[in-house]
């Protein structure tokens, strides 16, 4: 008998545009994924996605304005829905983000930055970049659980024995 599906919980976090907040945030969202039954691989990829989107929002979306980054995450029906908003949205910022995703430059040793969204795109099922009603930049990601992303029975037992 299948157990009834739990109501999805949306986690919403407002954080100052400061890189120091990213490690605990990304680890928290990855831990939520783990508790929701996603595999270690899925959780690691989630950690990277959160990191890259929030880093991007802080470095490029909040350059001129001391503002918050807003992240929301929901795990539902085998999918993670993630949304990151910054408040420095301009048409130029949006164009830059789209260029980074859809026209990435080839790998090079000369660039220290600018690859984060390419990684996010490769690890996600869907990636959408918008300007919100308030002029803020919004990045939405959906990541669908692959068959190998389900927590295996052995992994589940090991995890349960940890708690």
């Amino acid at each position: 008998m299948e157990s009834p599906e739990k109501d999805a919980v949306t986690y919403s976090v407002h954080l100052p545009s400061d890189l120091e907040y990213i490690p605990p945030l990304r680890q928290f969202i990855a831990e939520v994924a783990r508790v929701e039954g996603y595999s270690k691989k899925f959780c690691f990829r989630t950690e990277i996605i959160v990191d890259e989107l929030v880093t991007n929002g802080i470095l490029h979306g909040s350059q001129d304005v001391p503002s918050d980054i807003i992240l929301s995450a929901k795990f539902e029906s085998g999918q993670m829905h993630l949304s990151v908003q910054d408040q420095g949205g301009t048409r130029q910022n949006l164009e830059n983000l789209k260029r980074a995703v859809y026209s990435p430059k080839p790998p090079s040793s000369d660039k220290k930055k600018g690859r984060g969204l390419v990684i996010v795109q490769m690890l996600s099922s869907e990636l959408k970049i918008d300007l919100g009603e308030n002029g803020n930049t919004q990045v939405h990601v959906i990541k669908t659980k692959d068959p190998e992303d389900s927590l295996g029975q052995r992994e589940k037992l090991l995890y349960e024995s940890d708690i």
Partner: protein, 121 residues
């Protein structure tokens, strides 16, 4: 508060201008600057044959990868190299996504990486 990253640096026996660097922890935007400073200092001191042991590097993001590519380029410009060993699957996936596996010298073990270096004359 930075994410924990620790670099343990030691001599490479029988290798001129060689150093072994063990990366331990997470390499991300909060600690790239300190990592950059430490490794750049070594390269400036003439240690240009470097093997980086990633056995205990749990995590790297795109910013961290950017400085690894920078180390490789800088060492090569000085007729040296920056070789990486013991990369875990998660970190390798990120390296591969941005195509950095074609730019970095990656080995299965520290021993293999050291064996590929020019011996001390």
């Amino acid at each position: 508060m930075d994410t924990q990253i620790e670099l343990q640096i030691s001599e490479l026996e029988n290798v001129s201008h060689g150093k072994l660097i063990k990366f331990m922890g997470d390499l991300d935007a909060t600690n790239v600057e300190s990592t950059l400073d430490q490794v750049t200092k070594l390269i400036k001191e003439g240690f240009v044959q470097i093997v980086a042991d990633f056995r205990n590097l749990r995590y790297v993001n795109s910013t961290g990868l950017g400085i690894l590519l920078h180390f490789s380029k800088t060492a090569k410009e000085k007729n040296g190299c920056f070789k990486i060993a013991n990369v875990n699957d998660n970190v390798y996936e990120i390296i591969e996504i941005i195509g950095a596996n074609t730019l970095l010298d990656i080995y299965d073990s520290v021993e293999e990486a050291i064996a590929s270096l020019a011996p001390r004359r």
